[in-house]
Amino acid sequence: MSDDLVLEMRNIRKEFPGVVANDGVSFDVRRGEVHALLGENGAGKSTLMNILYGLYRPDGGEIRLAGKSVSFSSAREAIQSGIGMVHQHFMLVPVMTVAENVVLGSEPRSGVLLDERVAEKRVADMAKTFRFAVDPGARIEDITVGQQQRVEIMKALYRNADILILDEPTAVLTPQEASDLFEILRTLQREGLSIIFISHKLNEVLEIADRITVLRRGKTIETVPSEGATEASLARAMVGREVLLRVDKEPAQPTDVLLEVRDLHVRDDRGIEKVRGVSFDVRAGEIVGIAGVDGNGQTELIDALAGLQKIESGTVEIAGHALTHASARAALDAGIGHIPEDRQRRGLVLEFSIAENIALHDYAKPPDAKWGWLFPKRMVQRARTLIREFDVRGGGPFTRAGGLSGGNQQKLVAAREIARDPSVLIAAQPTRGLDVGAIEYLHRRLVAERDEGRAILLVSLELEEILSLSDRILVIYEGRIVGEHTGDITEEEIGLEMLGGRETAAA
């Protein structure tokens, strides 16, 4: 092996019950390079990096640091060996200053007390050397997300990291902050640091990386220099040419427009505009799929339609009735059914029984209730019917929803939403984390509901799911619809659009 390899991971294998997360993955990093790790959700990127960072122990394979075989049993050991990691979710103490956060855990002391002056000076020196533009005396809660990220990087540098792992670093940043980050990374690179850059954004990877390793389903597909690679070639390697699990369905017979969205603008909780002028229709009897990489405005779009997020401007109509500034209650009553993307956080009250969960939208209406009085027996009766109809297994009406398996929880949510006879059904990530059987059931059910004449809006991060279910596909990128497709289209073409590829190509 050549001398400039600071890290080699050879034939790393990691199994979890029922899944091989890493299957003989090999990966190496040269001194002073930015090496991008590219792959789909679940491709094994995070597992590989967690192994490197000492959070997981590999079942097989070898890790060599500067030629020496190592084995970490904790993150502490990895840090001591010069590995630093910046997680997607920062681990900073908001009420403490930048300097205090950076030195936390290995503080300079005078006696038993923190020597604040020395701490601030060291951090200030570091900020100057690497041009971080962060005030060491500022409190974390007062600085921007981009600056917080720099504090995380400084934490790693303060502990003498020479390999820095960045997990989806641009996911939380604005474009300007992202380009500032790239400047910093280049400075670090010149200082001799090696950087592992985890991402799924092709344009970024091509911009910053020297080499790129693509993972797919736990395996290394290829390692290529970024010179010569294109977005199209990377997308192909990421997605692969697997046969699609097509769902049997007749061609759609769309009729009336049931959901009409016009020039919708929505901000997220941080005040960032995530949906920037989206317009589309969904007709009765069709499934419209929204394809896109996570974080491009899908969540905010769905929440706005369901009355869970404030609409900045634009209009929403359900079957001709305006629903623009409706509450969640009004959206439900207007005929929106909503299978939410996070069934455990939002779709279910896990401590409630199945019967109570089925009543979640209509607990205050007959037959479940009258004049504010509940009729639990009727709730149980209805639950019993739906459990049978939707084949929810693992318990009866009195079973806690939290005790069901993921697939059955999702069936429970679907049962509730479909049983309300909605005119528009929003299905967000309907099969996330489910096994093949449950996926198949939900897919068939969605097609059946389409054929019943509902308008179905499918939002998914799984491109295969979008392609196999949708009659029409909209591609969302940075809060805008950047493509619409009805006929045959390949994953590569859509994948490129999802990554903003067409914009780049057009420029």
């Binding site: 979890f16 995070s46 997605v239 009250v349 607990y363 639990p376 005790g403 984390g433």
Partner: protein, 414 residues
């Protein structure tokens, strides 16, 4: 606990084979088991402390005997309705204490069920107390039924509004209810001390130098159902408190309001998604929580002390709002559990103060402190019980991610 309908169902029996169902059944059993174990543990630890400080196991056992007798629980061995009998009298005082604790316990429990920690029961209790005294003095000579009703309803509503302030602050600006209810406690306390203090608008009319209120007029006094000439009897407030236990259960389990409260308490995100107005529920649940505490205050004023003496209330009475927290925690925030928790704490409070205080075997100067130690240990072990459950639950949460590695919590994507 949250199931509609009767809990032993055919489904449960049928599902008992699955692991999930077995865990659920265990938790259900643990629902009764854990509090009982907690109390037994606390009593054993108290016994060890007693034995160690007294250098005698025998003294420790005698002390427990005296707490038991002091609470009047020995009454069951020779029941009598005559309050001149010491055990009957002690029992009547324990019941009075229990009446208050049932209501302050329900107050804390209700807020907990909506996911909030109402630590302001004490202040809400004061508000009920003060309003009942004011109206009880001012409308002297009214029809007794109407007068009592007026005082109780007004005291309850005033306390509901008082607690509602904390609810509004939480719903609108996100002020944490623990902070705001504690602050409201002190505001209530100092407003009361101004009202009843020297020169205050509600100070008594006969002794201008004494910071005491007027006595509640006889038309507003709660009748005793168990009393005797010259004794403080047990007033009908006990039945009102027992009715409140039923109201609490029905409200939570048989009304849409209770459904909303429980949904918000368990998972506000899911509640909002279900179409429930979360903010409205926070305010409403806080107000209802305050109502229970205010009712306790009103009943104590109309049936017990009948006047307000600044700084002169019995120590157990002046802490009832806080002891309500322990009662609710021990009772797992359920109606029946709170009732039993109140009985336990009522007996312990009165029994230990009274029993140990007049003890022949324990030095009087030690007795008071031992009482605090025993109460403290029980609260400590209740805390540990919650801690154990917390650790148990978070251990389960920690185990979840590796079981599903293909779908990490943070969704990176295509």
């Amino acid at each position: 606990m949250t199931d509609p309908g009767p809990s032993p169902s055919p489904e449960q029996a049928a599902a008992a084979g699955t692991l999930a169902a077995r865990i659920a059944l265990k938790q259900r059993a643990g629902g009764i088991l854990v509090p009982v174990v907690t109390v037994v543990f606390a009593l054993v630890m108290s016994g060890i402390v007693l034995a160690a400080t007294q250098h005698s196991v025998h003294t420790a056992l005698v002390a427990f005997q005296e707490i038991f007798d002091g609470a009047g629980l020995n009454w069951i061995f020779h029941p009598t309705t005559n309050l001149i009998d010491i055990s009957a009298y002690n029992l009547s005082q324990t019941l009075l204490q229990t009446t208050t604790l049932i209501l302050t316990g329900l107050s804390v429990a209700f807020a907990f069920r909506c996911g909030m920690f109402n630590i302001g029961g004490q202040g809400q209790y004061f508000v009920g107390l003060v309003v009942a005294n004011w109206l009880g003095v001012d409308f002297a000579g009214m029809n007794p039924f109407a007068h009592i009703l007026l005082c109780i309803v007004a005291g309850t509503l005033a306390a509901a509004a008082w607690a509602g302030i904390a609810g509004v602050l939480k719903a609108t600006v996100g002020a944490h209810e623990v902070i705001s209810t504690i602050m409201l406690n002190w505001i209530a306390f100092w407003v009361a001390s101004w009202l009843f203090g020297a020169g205050g608008p509600l100070q008594n009319s006969t002794q201008p130098t004494v910071p005491v209120s007027n006595q509640v007029s006889s038309s507003a006094r709660l009748p005793d159902f168990w009393g005797a000439q010259g004794f403080q009897g047990v007033h009908v407030g006990l039945f009102i408190a027992l009715a409140a236990v039923v109201v609490f259960w029905v409200l939570l389990n048989r009304t849409t309001l209770g459904y909303e409260v429980r949904a918000v308490g368990f998972n506000p995100d899911a509640a909002a998604y279900g179409g429930i107005n979360v903010k409205k529920n926070l305010v409403r649940a806080m107000a209802i929580s305050g109502a229970f505490a205010g009712l306790a205050g009103a009943l104590d004023m109309l049936g017990g002390t009948t006047n307000y003496q600044f700084g002169q209330l019995d120590i157990p009475f002046s802490q009832v709002g806080f002891i309500g927290i322990a009662v609710a925690l021990l009772g797992r925030n359920t109606a029946l559990g709170t009732l039993f928790g109140a009985l336990l704490f009522g007996s312990l409070l009165y029994g230990s103060f009274h029993g140990l205080g007049s003890s022949a075997v324990i030095q009087p100067e030690l007795a008071g402190n031992l009482t605090y130690i025993i109460q403290g240990l029980i609260v400590l072990f209740i805390g540990a019980d919650v801690l154990i459950l917390y650790v148990w639950n978070s251990r389960k949460k920690l185990r979840r991610p590796p079981a599903n590695p293909a779908q990490p919590a943070k969704a990176t994507a295509a």
